[in-house]
Every structure is written in C-alpha cells, then in structure tokens.
Symmetry: C2
Subunit: 335 residues, 2 copies
Amino acid sequence: MTDFWKDSPELATTLERVALLMRDAVRGNDFPLEEAVGAIVESNGKMLRPAFLVLGSRFGKKGSVERVLPLAASIELLHVSTLIHDDVIDESDLRRGVPTLHTRFGVKDAVLAGDWLFARCFQLAAASASPEHAQALARLICAICAAEIRQDLDKWSYSPSLRAYHRKIAGKTAALFSLALHVGATEAKAPNRVAERLRRAGYDIGMAFQIIDDILDFESTEGVMRKPVGHDVAEGLCTLPLIHALRADEAGMRALLARLPRPGAARAGAAGASATAEAVAAILARSAELGGLDAARRDAERYTRRAQAAIDGLPAGAARDDLSRLTAKLLSRSY
Amino acid sequence: MTDFWKDSPELATTLERVALLMRDAVRGNDFPLEEAVGAIVESNGKMLRPAFLVLGSRFGKKGSVERVLPLAASIELLHVSTLIHDDVIDESDLRRGVPTLHTRFGVKDAVLAGDWLFARCFQLAAASASPEHAQALARLICAICAAEIRQDLDKWSYSPSLRAYHRKIAGKTAALFSLALHVGATEAKAPNRVAERLRRAGYDIGMAFQIIDDILDFESTEGVMRKPVGHDVAEGLCTLPLIHALRADEAGMRALLARLPRPGAARAGAAGASATAEAVAAILARSAELGGLDAARRDAERYTRRAQAAIDGLPAGAARDDLSRLTAKLLSRSY
C-alpha cells in the first residue's frame, strides 16, 4: 500500500484487506499466468475506487464494510484489467515498475489475461453484490469503454463543445467515482437520501479530478505529474483548457493546431520530435494567454465546491471526515 | 441466419429472435461503434451456443424458452466479443466477410469494443439469469481464457499427455456446450436429473466436436474446412492425432517436429513457407502411418456414443429429437 492513506489509518487497514482479496482472486484459480498477473495486482496503486466504495458503505448499517470488501476488490480488479489492455494498446514495457504482460508472453496472452481478469471480476461481483449492482457495474464498464472510444475517434478534431467534453469525462471518470460511493452506501443499506447525496458527491469529485488532470497536462513542469507536459495536446486530444482557448480565439488556435504533426504524416526521428515539441509549446503558451487555463481552473473549483457542499450535507462522523479529507487531498493534488 | 438449421424450423425461428435481441443489445446504447460492431453481430454464424441453451430450456416448464432468450443472446455476444479480440491478436482483415474492427478503427478501439461487448454481455446475463448462473457464465469465460493461454504457452512443446489434452479441450470447448445445455434446463426449472444428463451430454458433444475439429486439420483436403490442412501443426500445437503418434514413436516424431521452422527462426518469404509446408506434410503423413488419426477417430467416436447415450436417456419429445439431430449433424460434420 502507498503512504497515500497515512492520514486515514482505518481506511488504510480496510484497503489492505481488499488487497488480500484481490490477491486471492488471482492466485490458486488454475490460471496459467497467475504469477505474472498476481505481481501486477499486488503492485497496486492508490486503490481510489475501492476506497470510495468502502467510504460509501460506512454511511450504512454498522458492520457493512465487511460485506462490500469482495465488491471493492472486484471494482479495483476491473481497473487492473483495463490497465493490462491499455498496456497492450500503448505497447508499454513497464507498469508500476513491473514488466507488462505482452513483453513477457506476447500480445495474445496479454489480451486473454485481461479478459480473464475481466471475467473474474464479474464473477466476484455476481457473487457479492445484488443483481442490480452487478448490472450497474457492467453498465459502467460499457460507459467507460464507450467514452474511451469516443475520445479516440475525436482525436485531431477540435470541437469547442463544452457539452461534449463534460459528457466524455463524465463517462471516463466521474461515473465510476459516483457509482462506487453510491453502490457502497446502497449495499450497506444507507438511507436513500444519503446514498443519493453520495452519488452526486462522487460525480462532482470525479469531474473536478479529471479537469484537474487535464489542466496539469498544460502546466506541470515536473514531479507532480509523470506524463510529459503537453502529452494530451501532442496526442491530438481536445481537453478543457484548449476548449476554452478555442472559444476565445477559434481561428488563431486552429492555425496553431494545424501545425501539430499528425501520426503517419510526422517527420521521422529527432526532426519530427522537435517539430511536435515546438507546436505543442506554442499551443500551451497561447492557451494560457487566452485565459483557457484560468477558465478551466474555475470550472474545477466549481465542481470542487459542489462536491464539498454535498459532503457537508452528509451525516457527521468519521466516515464524512475521511471522505472530506480524501476529497481535499485529491482535488488539491497534495500528494 | 445460415441454412444450418433448416431441419429444425422451430429452433431456427427461436434463434432469429435471439439474433434480434443481440442486435438490440448493441444498437441504440450510445455506443460509438454500434454500426461496425452491429454489422459483425448481425453477420452471425451458426449460433450453436444459444441453440444449446434454448434446447436445454425446452426440457423445462412450458413457456420457458421465452425466459432464456436474453441469456442466449448474452452467451453468443460473449462469443462475438472473443472473436473481436481474436481478430486483433491474429491481425485478421475480414471476419465472416465483414472488415474487422482494427482495420477500420485501429487496435485501441478494437480492443475497447471487445471489452464493451464483454461488459454488455455480463449486464444482460446479470439482468436475465440467476446470480448463480451469471457467476457460472463468468467462471466459464475464465476457464476458456485460461485454456487458450495454456494452449499458447504450450506451443512448440510436445507433451504426449492425453490428460493435458483433454483438460485443454474441456476448458476450450466442452465446458461451454455443457454449461449452455445445463443452464438452459435449470433456468427452465427442468428436473435435476434431466439437467444433469444434459450437462454430461453437452460435455461429451463438446469433446467429440473439438477432437473432430483437430482431426480435420490432419486430413481435410478442401471444402469442409476453411483452415489450410496442417494449420495446427504449423502453429506448433500438439493435438490428439499428434499425441497418439508421439505415443507410438516418440523419438521418430520428435525428429520430424524438430524440422518444423519456428516463428522468428523461420527463413523469410517463399523459402520459409516451403520449408514449413514440407515439414508439416511429413508430420501429417507419419502421424497417419503410426495410427494417430485412427486412434483419435476412435476417441471421438467414444465421446459421440456417450453423448448419444446421454441424449437417449432424456425424456422423449421434440426437444430430444432436435438435440439428437443437431448432435448427429455436428459430429458427422455433414454441413
């Protein structure tokens, strides 16, 4: 476990138990790649998704946390299975310091291992959640896949539509945070209005989280983010700071964007990389000048305020304090 | 629908309805690739898996067929989602005459589309089957993925173990046929002993079906099979005729197998292809001489007889007649 959770020792202990369940779901199930997939599962990250589920369940009946642990494991394993497929797609060599599956066993076994883990998660979910929640989880995965495909198809076409952007990040990020908090609360038989409030809080946290992620790509120098600055822009993505910049000066921004080398058309080697870096730098600088970053920051702050207001309306107690602390930490990126 | 079902008009009509449910599961769900994935889904093949599920349900209470249609659609969509991933892995250009997704949208969107369909199936299954059956379906997908990975890892290592072979094809094929018949019967509240008998029949049908598939790769000239002869051998797979040949003359067969060019080490272009073709031809010929094919045929016949005996023990009626006819057709490959 990372020291991300050092301020919430109760949650940290629970997440350790979720991690054990995740390990057990992979090991000892007659799965030929259990060692390799086990290593990826055990190199787990912050476990945000199960943390939201567990936090949601703490608003329900006493002792309910126990009941949602398998579902929490399932939701994080689903995340890991998408990471395995991401690594195949991106041809990444390492994931959290562990060699990726396709570098060790080839693309075929890596895709199949992701599928295996995917099915294993649904098995866990069907065994541990109500049929309605198992369905909700499956529906959510559909929404996430659809949002990722939509983002990929929209590459290199710069729509200044705020609505399309919000829809995309809602599917990609906010829906999952929202579902985790809501399902946790509902499985724990929390009152409906509490569960509803948690659903809204999760949505707002997720929206703010993703907008901040998109802003960091425009401003980070180093350290906080692992991605190089302007990575999204170089990939042809149109995120919120760029959308605001387009709305401020569409013709000017489109002229800059037209100078960005596309895959395939790009010049090879160092010349191509330098052309990309130059074009990206110009786009980042002009987006900032046009107030695109400031406008995006205001949007993130609006979602953050809404999230905190939703949380403040929840029943007081250790669960609310932990959720509030986690939200503040996530949305200030102070980690 | 293919004319595969022309002798079973009642089943054909039911499968048309399953096909409509499959179409509805993909269309109109805010899925960006619905047109492309829809085209693949609608180019459906024989729909064997849903046919077994529907046949199983006809041994239960009257009117139960209606109830299992969504699950039948789900089980076939799962199959389609694995085909989408297979095409990415094999870099195939066409599937049933329709361009594959990755040729149209790239690897990323093709993998994600397979994942989307996968999740959509689990959603349907969770909505339409009992939690136990939703779990069983997920567990089955795990077994299929594990068997495929095991087969891939075992390539180029020629174990003469009959047990390992049976285990592999049980996971790859027989478990699915078995589950479909059994779940269909159970969802339709058929008596336990009927459901159990169907489970065994499905297993034996699946085993015979896969062994025959493996035999055809050794003997087919053209027409019946679409794969080139010796495809499995050229790929480094060790199927039943080869296992029996190894058991008859291990040293001799290993000497022939050692002449088979491996990927990477293979000579490029026409020379490489001709070296492979020569080595494969020698292996096929010697396997036949050693009685490997005959022994494999006897194994297939044993499973076929067992399947027919299990079917004969089922309650008489149109359902049994249809199942018996389908089994005879599948296992004689008279289509």
